[in-house]
Amino acid sequence: MTPDFSADHFTLFGLPAAFRVDGAALDQAWRQLQAQVHPDRYAHAGEAEKRLSMQWATRVNEAYQTLREPLRRADYLLQRRGIHALGERQTALPAEFLMQQMEWREGLQDAQQARDAGSLDALRRVLKREATQLTDLLAQQLDAEGAWDAAADTVRKLRFVQKLAEDVNLALAALEDD
């Protein structure tokens, strides 16, 4: 038997289903739920409770991760409306954005080849700012305008930017390793 996971993530944490979330309230609800279901609370209980506890704690962590990260939260909100922004079939992003992407990618490659930590760090900051702007845009599109298709595009852009930011971090880490 598996726990009833039908409640959606927002309901689970007692939060309104919106893109803008109260981070502190989310953190607090997560900790409060974990305090009830975490396996450490059931280490000396019977197998049935141990198993349930692990399933619940896993489920609570999954919900928390989804709501905490803006990209996953936006994707989740869209999925509730039947829009799979990150699914296999997606519309192409504007050429302008793709050009910008390629420019950043080239910048990353050049900095990597030149072992230029300064440029990498500068690129990291640029991407961070870009991600913040896209996140603000999502809040507008999802919470105020109900512009779902536009929001789906923004979600895809944000994923591009985050993937690139991860690669920049990996490149920085690789420089530190040598």
Binding site: P3, Q28, R31, A35, D40, R41, A43, A48, N61, D177
Partner: protein, 622 residues
């Protein structure tokens, strides 16, 4: 408005029944065992009043085994059969190891390296089990009874293979593992509870053979690990090695035999420790060739030859901060753990990096064991209501699958809070394909070849379909010990085929049984008695837990006939536990677990609802 009360689920055991549980720090150089008594955690000493047990195991010519100081004293005499720092070999293959200056006869075996000793071939798991056995009997003597279980600490950066090996060693030593706990997290518990601190803390843990850096957020009753990084093959031992190499060079010595190697490594360690409080150390030794070593090692020389090791700890530190999304200034305090952090060069470098004086007001050798003891006490159910807390830890390395082209597809990213599960769908490559091979790997690199291979398994019986039509859902589940199980299921056809992998380096039940029987010559009888005892303990613990649950919620959550069925099942188990049929006891334990699942489910649902109710009350108050 009256505040809603929230009960503590599953924590009520029979009153005044203190369950004996310990925390064990199974270290590279030294091991310790600690326990909470009368609300206070303390390290349990041996009969001569010594807290540390050197992690040294010697296989004696007469068939006996000696562990600890005695074995340590003989290490240069009998280097092949005296195993030091075995933790470095746990879950490691021959190719993973730096064999230089290791005086053992190593055997390359699939999964894990093995050692040739006077007692035959030994796995690092068996050697570690010898250390754990000594600690277990020390604890049982000191506490006056059998242990219900232990929390065993592992380096946070230990991977799956190393964790599983540690758990296997405990099993071999007859210890019920309540939880594998990350060493820096254990230290944070001991430190945080002791000093009542809040905020973001870094734990810098440099042990004998491993380095961990963990960033934690401590807030009211919650220890949340934000990120962890490290190097599971870097520790105080490496500083000894640097001195050793320096001696070889300065004294222009030829390659040494194992005996002299051990002797000089011992001298190197002494010199390192001496330099903690002195500006220079003398290294003198007479080698088996009759050559005499007589050198002076100044602190400056020492700092110069070990500088790169110190730097090797700072790179992971930077990464951990970046993973946590924090800047150096946001770290409120740095807790130093592990004997190697006594070195002034380490304290200086860490202080400089974090721009603050590291916290060294805890005994760096004991803090991990003390934290583990406190957690063991909680997990065993001895917790006093009111002083509870919650530990939220993470996995150190990403887990993934091999996909086309030898690339890694990450399924669970590193620093995910555990327990965690992630699923991903895959499909078939060819028409009519009925089987699919999976290769589970751990690591951050893009190429599978650069990651650690954990397991391979196959899913068979997929109904023939055109390529790309099957939907195979692969689920990764990491439990609260940080251990992984993977399952795969075909979705489209509704045919369920699932496998759960036990990683290939783990020991099978059969191997454990063989090792156990080898460890006790008069095996057969022992094994039976042991199995019976294990099942009785299991039965008793289930009965206790159920009785408590019934007393608490039986009235509210069960219909009369449901309760009756459970009570009948309990009575049957109680009767069977009086007998000697361990298989019958086990069967009834399983049946009762099955039977009580709906009850457990209702209790859990209720607890979740109450947590939310409690939270709403809190938010009203804000």
């Amino acid at each position: 408005m009256a505040l809603l009360q929230i009960s503590e689920p599953g924590t009520s055991t029979a009153p005044h029944q203190h369950r004996l549980a310990v925390g064990i720090d199974l270290g590279t150089t030294n091991s310790l065992v600690a326990s909470v008594q009368s609300g206070l955690a303390r390290v349990l000493d041996d009969e001569r009043g010594r807290a540390l047990l050197p992690s040294v195991v010697r296989y004696l010519p007469d068939g006996g085994v000696s562990v600890g100081y005695e074995a340590q004293a003989r290490q240069s005499e009998d280097p092949h059969n005296t195993i030091v720092s075995v933790k470095r070999f746990m879950g490691r293959g021959l190719k993973d190891l730096d064999k230089a200056n290791v005086p053992y006869r190593l055997l390359d075996e699939p999964g894990m390296v093995k050692l040739k000793t006077a007692h035959g071939v030994k796995s690092p798991v068996e050697v570690s089990a010898e250390i754990l056995r000594v600690l277990r009997s020390r604890a049982e003597r000191a506490l006056g009874g059998e242990l219900v279980g232990a929390v065993i600490t592992v380096p946070a950066y230990f991977d799956e293979a190393q964790r599983q090996a540690t758990k296997d060693a405990a099993r071999l030593a007859g210890i019920n593992v309540l939880r594998l706990l990350n060493e820096p997290t254990a230290a944070a518990i001991a430190y945080g509870l002791d000093h009542g601190v809040e905020g973001v803390y870094a734990v810098y843990d440099l042990g004998g053979g491993t380095f961990d850096i963990s960033i934690l957020r401590l807030s009211k009753g919650v220890f949340e690990v934000l990120s962890t990084h490290g190097d599971s093959a870097l520790g105080g031992d490496d500083f000894d090695q640097r001195i050793f190499c320096w001696v070889l060079e300065e004294a222009k010595l030829p390659p040494l035999d194992p005996r002299d190697t051990r002797l000089l490594l011992g001298k190197a360690r002494e010199a390192k420790e001496y330099l903690t409080d002195h500006p220079e150390a003398h290294i003198t030794a007479v080698l088996s060739s009759g050559d005499i070593v007589d050198l002076r090692l100044g602190l400056d020389d020492f700092n110069r030859i070990t500088q790169s090791l110190v730097n090797k700890t700072l790179a992971p530190t930077r990464k951990a901060l970046r993973d946590a999304g924090l800047e150096v200034e946001e770290v409120q305090g740095v807790v130093m753990v592990g004997g190697a952090t006594r070195m002034p060069c380490i304290r200086h470098a860490v202080g400089e990096f974090f721009a603050q004086t590291p916290l060294t007001n805890l005994d760096p050798d004991k803090v991990v064991a003390l934290g583990a003891a406190v957690q063991a006490d909680v997990l065993a159910g001895n917790k006093q209501s009111g002083d509870d807390w919650l530990l939220l830890d993470v996995i150190p390395l990403s887990l993934g699958l091999e996909v086309m082209g030898g690339l890694t597809e990450k399924i669970v990213p590193r620093n995910s809070t555990i327990p965690v599960a992630r699923a991903q769908e895959f499909t078939t490559f060819k028409d009519g394909q009925t089987a699919m091979g999976f290769h589970v790997v751990q690591g951050e690199r893009e190429l599978v070849a650069d990651c650690r291979s954990l397991a391979r398994f196959e899913l068979r019986g997929i109904p023939p379909m055109v390529a790309g039509a099957a939907r195979i859902r692969v689920t990764f589940q990491v439990d609260a010990d940080g251990l992984l199980s993977v399952s795969a299921r075909e979705q489209v056809s509704g045919v369920e085929a699932a496998v759960v992998v036990k990683p290939s380096y783990g020991l099978s039940d059969g191997e454990i049984a063989r090792m156990l029987s080898e460890a006790h010559a008069h095996a057969e009888e022992d094994m039976k008695a042991r199995a019976l005892n294990e099942q009785r303990v299991e039965a008793q613990s289930l009965l206790t837990a159920l009785a408590a649950a019934l007393a608490q919620d039986g009235e509210a959550l069960l219909a009369a006939d449901e309760r009756h069925v459970i009570e009948a099942g309990m009575a049957k188990l109680r009767a069977l536990a009086e007998g000697t049929e361990h298989l019958a006891i086990r069967a009834q334990v399983e049946a009762l677990n099955q039977l009580t699942t709906p009850f457990a489910q209702r209790r859990m649902d209720r607890n979740v609802r109450q947590a939310l109710a409690g939270q709403n009350v809190d938010s009203l108050r804000v």
